[in-house]
Symmetry: C2
Subunit: 185 residues, 2 copies
DNA sequence: TGCTCCCTGTAGCACCTGCTACATAGACAG
DNA sequence: CTGTCTATGTAGCAGGTGCTACAGGGAGCA
């Protein structure tokens, strides 16, 4: 594969990732996707082996983009668990994150059923999240850093999902969490 | 619609619900579904208006089944939040719950994107969950009962999802949560 | 000019999708 | 027996799917 072709493939991956963020992963037809990109399905299948290859590569790109944004958005100093949770909840719920999070939901639902490549991509993405949280976490006992980060991510993800489904309802999950939990030990 | 036809429809709903639990909601073709039921797509569309009607009715059945199981599995006495969480985590992760929870993931992912009827069904299901948790929750301040229940459900759901995706990995989310959180007023 | 090779448009295949028209066998009423 | 109505099988339509065969344009090379 020539470098010109590779770079064009890379360009396509970027643009397809944008579309996935708009539409969700679940169902997108090659013809429609191509039309939005101003090209044809024939071309997509020239630069990608098949649809699975295309989706896989583009999801990896979305995941990498999320990781990069996380890396960039580091708080000034490490925070203790409760403060970090309070800081992260609004960030995850921010409007700009909504498309990423929608893709994330799909990824988890399909990955959770064991479908590849969704499972692998979701796993790697989760592990990056955990690492990112660990790095921003101020804990007394270093041995509990990992488990605290995992627990924070679980809460974050659960709250986000609940709120996404209940959106428009009167439940205020952020307030619920903030008012209920004291993080120890 | 005659009662005979209605009862046959109800019977089909039950059996389709079983199949949904095996396969997940995402993609199931009427022909395949009918074959597994020992009938034809023609018959399914005789007893249901269209596929949406079929899926909707069957998902409602799954949701009702979950609600019934919750109702049945009530602990002996109300528990304080931390104890209830510790009791619920293994229950949600139990092997028997895996199919229900897989359908639940789909429901949330699609409901979260606003797709009907998934959104409505997911919302009602969540509200039942919250009610169930509230009833089993021993709290000092009655005013915090609802918010505590919501927070517990968020943690439960987040932990379940993380674990489902990471399954086979070495993370032990239950232990993480148990070791990290102290639940207070 | 002709040759070769990378890119891309056209057309279409084979299959799958939900859904429907039509025919018919059986039950039951007269 | 005859007519009517319900339940079900057969066949197929129209649209969509991923994917492919084929041809040609155009750039570089001889």
């Amino acid at each position: 594969m020539t470098t010109a072709r590779l770079s064009k493939r890379q360009d396509l991956v970027r643009r397809i990732a944008d579309r996935l963020l708009d539409h969700g992963v679940a169902q997108i037809a090659l013809r429609d996707l191509a039309a939005e990109l101003g090209t044809s399905d024939r071309m997509l299948l020239y630069y990608f082996e098949d649809k699975a290859d295309l989706v896989s590569a583009s999801l990896e790109a979305v995941s990498a983009r999320l990781a990069a944004r996380l890396e960039q958005e580091s708080p000034a100093a490490p925070l203790p668990p409760a403060a970090l949770l309070a800081a992260l909840l609004p960030a995850v719920r921010a409007e700009a994150m909504a498309p990423v999070m929608s893709v994330w939901s799909d990824l988890c639902a399909r990955g959770g059923r064991g479908e590849e490549p969704f499972r692998g991509i979701a796993q790697r993405s989760i592990i990056q999240w955990i690492g990112w949280i660990e790095a921003r976490l101020a804990v007394a006992d270093p041995g509990s850093r990992r488990s605290t980060a995992v627990a924070l991510l679980a809460i974050l993800e659960g709250a986000r999902q609940l709120e996404q489904v209940l959106a428009g309802s009167t439940q205020d999950i952020e307030a619920s969490l903030a008012s209920v939990f004291v993080i120890g030990p």
